[in-house]
Every structure is written in C-alpha cells, then in structure tokens.
Amino acid sequence: MRHALVAALNATCALLLAMAPAKADGSTVPEAERMAFQAFFFAKFPQVAKEDFGNGPYAVNEGMRKQWQEIMQFPPYELALDEGHVEWDKPFANGKHYADCFDNKGEGIRQTYPRFIAASGQVETLEGAINRCRVENGEPPLEPMTGTMASLAAVMSESSRGKPFAITIPDDPRALAAYERGKEFFYSRKGQLGVSCASCHMSPAGERMRGDILAPALGILAGMPIYRSDWGSMGTSIRRISTCSSQTRALPLQADDEEYRNLEYFMSYMSNGIPIVGPGTRP
C-alpha cells in the first residue's frame, strides 16, 4: 500500500516536473534543470520515497537495504562522530571555536553547502569553510578528504539530518558560471574509460557495475561524509569524487580544485529538497 502511494505521488511529481519550461533558445535555467533532473529519478524509481534518495544504493536495491539495516545496528561512523564532537568543542589556541565561524553556531546548516562566496567569486564547500575557519583562527588547514576533517563534517551533517538540501545560486553571473562549470564536469566523459558522472549515476543508477550497485545522482551527496567499507575509514564528498576520478582512470585533481567544488555545487543544487541523511555508510 505504501509503495503504491509513493509510486502515485512520484508519478504525479514526475509529470509536473517534466513540464518545466525551457528557454526558447534551448538553454534552461538551473531551477528548470533541477526539476527535469529530479523528474527523471522519480519516474525511474517510482517506489522510492523522495526522502530516501539520500541513502544511495540502499534506497534502490532491496538486498543491499537489508544488509545496510543490519550494519546500522552499529553504525561504522560512530567513532568518527565521537572524535568529531570532541574536536568541535575543543578551543583553538586563540580561545575561539569552530562554532564561532558559522551561522547558527554551525548547527543545522550543512544543507546550505556548498555556497557561492561573493568575496572570492568562488564556490566554497563545507570542508573548505571548516578549513577557512581554522586558518582565520591561526590553525593549520586539515587534510580535506578524511581523518579529522571527515569527523567534523560528520558532526555538522548529523545536526542537519532531515533538513532538505537548500543550495542557492545568487543573482551573480559568477555563481551561475560556477553552476554551469559544475554541470559541464558532471556530463563530460573523462579518464581512459571515457565515462562521465552521468554515465554511471543517471540512466544506469540502480544497476550493477561489477560488485557495486550504482547510486542515483539524486541525493548522492546527502549522505556525506561516509564510512566506506572499501576504504575502511571515513571520507568526505571530495574523497568519494576523487575516487570516482581514479575509477574512470582519470588522474584526480587537487582536493580543493575549483572544478571539484563546482561539481559539488551543481550536484547539491540538483538535490535541493532531498533531506540530509549523513553521516552515512557505503560498501
């Protein structure tokens, strides 16, 4: 009964969203693109509730979902969360805290990252904001892919659980350009294997690639940071994206490369409305 209701709701959403307008010259505005993007997934997975897309492969594969439910009896990211809370509360040498750097003391704001920063004219990720906070308070930046950074990101994600992604594109041509560059990255074939993000996470989402179930692009960053069994440790969004680059046999970019930040901006904007579920776990 629940599945039937979800399917009917998703079908209605997909129909309404598919009617999103496009400009006469064929180009589209971000909001119309987001609606078309989401409509594609709602139509592809009519049995999946919108709120569940952040759970990636576990939302679209029943067998994996059962395994995940077992794993979540003792979530493997708990140790990182504990470490993150200790680090979050620890004062910097100047007596200030991470909380002093963020809106609302950093509570429940993860869903608004990445953000376009007018002063720099660039996109800033959550990890970038954490490192900026450190540097502004006289502390060295953290390695952005794992370790303490992932633990701090886990703390911020946990406080945003249930809050839908709310990424904004300010009325600034540089912000729109960053979105467009992120979109270009998402759809561009890369690496010796010649695949794009979209090649794996759009049409083939939910299908098997060797031993893995491909996660839908919709909501894929809502579960970050993640404890990934393949790594045996925690990783931030950028660690996962960097791993994807390697898997296509592309040489990964620097972790804070502008192209990666723009990609996160685009992907997160596409997921506006999907609730944060991180920190998460993946195979």
């Binding site: 078309a36 759809y187 561009s188 074939r189 010796q192 010649g194 794009s196 046999r249 592309a250 970019l253």
Partner: protein, 100 residues
C-alpha cells in the same frame, strides 16, 4: 645464389637489430611524453595509465633498457595526446548528454 643468401643471413646476424633504440632516442621519447603529459595535466585531462607508462619508461631508462624505455614513452605520449583530445572534444559534446 645460395652463397649470397648465406652471406646476407650471416651479415644480418652480425649487425644490431634495425629497430633497436639508442639511449638518445629513448631519452628524446621520454622528454616528448613528459611534455605531452604536462599539457594534459594543465588541461585537467590527464589519465592514470599515462602516469603508469611514464613511470615504466623512467624505470627502463634508468636500467639501460633503451627499447623498453622508448616503447613505454611512446605509449605514454600517445595516451597523453588522446586524453587532451578527449578533453577538447568534450568541451562541446557534453551538452548532448544533459537531461532536460
């Protein structure tokens, strides 16, 4: 006639293989491959197999295996050029993949 054939075969065995690379050729191939890869990295288009082939070429060069070094360097250069070609092609073709 038969004597001439034997003479030619004997000379061929005495002379070095026609395709053997010299140290200078191997070094030149590696330099060209590195230049191509630098271009690929600048374009953010580099591939990991190119790096692997470059490492193999450097290792072979260090051990004096000129043929192996040149072969690996040539492969690296070809891969680097292909990666740049891919990036150039994608500058426009990605638009065809966008979901609308």
């Amino acid at each position: 006639m038969i004597r001439a054939l034997f003479l030619a075969a004997g000379l061929a065995m005495l002379s070095p293989p026609a395709m053997a690379a010299t140290q200078a050729e191997a070094e030149a191939a590696l330099a060209a491959a590195q230049a191509a890869e630098t271009e690929a990295i600048a374009a953010k288009a580099a591939w990991t197999p190119t790096e692997a082939a470059l490492a193999e070429a450097r290792k072979a060069l260090a051990s004096g295996s000129w043929d192996a070094a040149k072969a690996a360097a040539d492969e690296a250069q070809a891969l680097a050029k292909l990666s740049v070609e891919q990036a150039n092609e994608e500058k426009t073709s990605w638009r065809h993949a966008v979901f609308r």
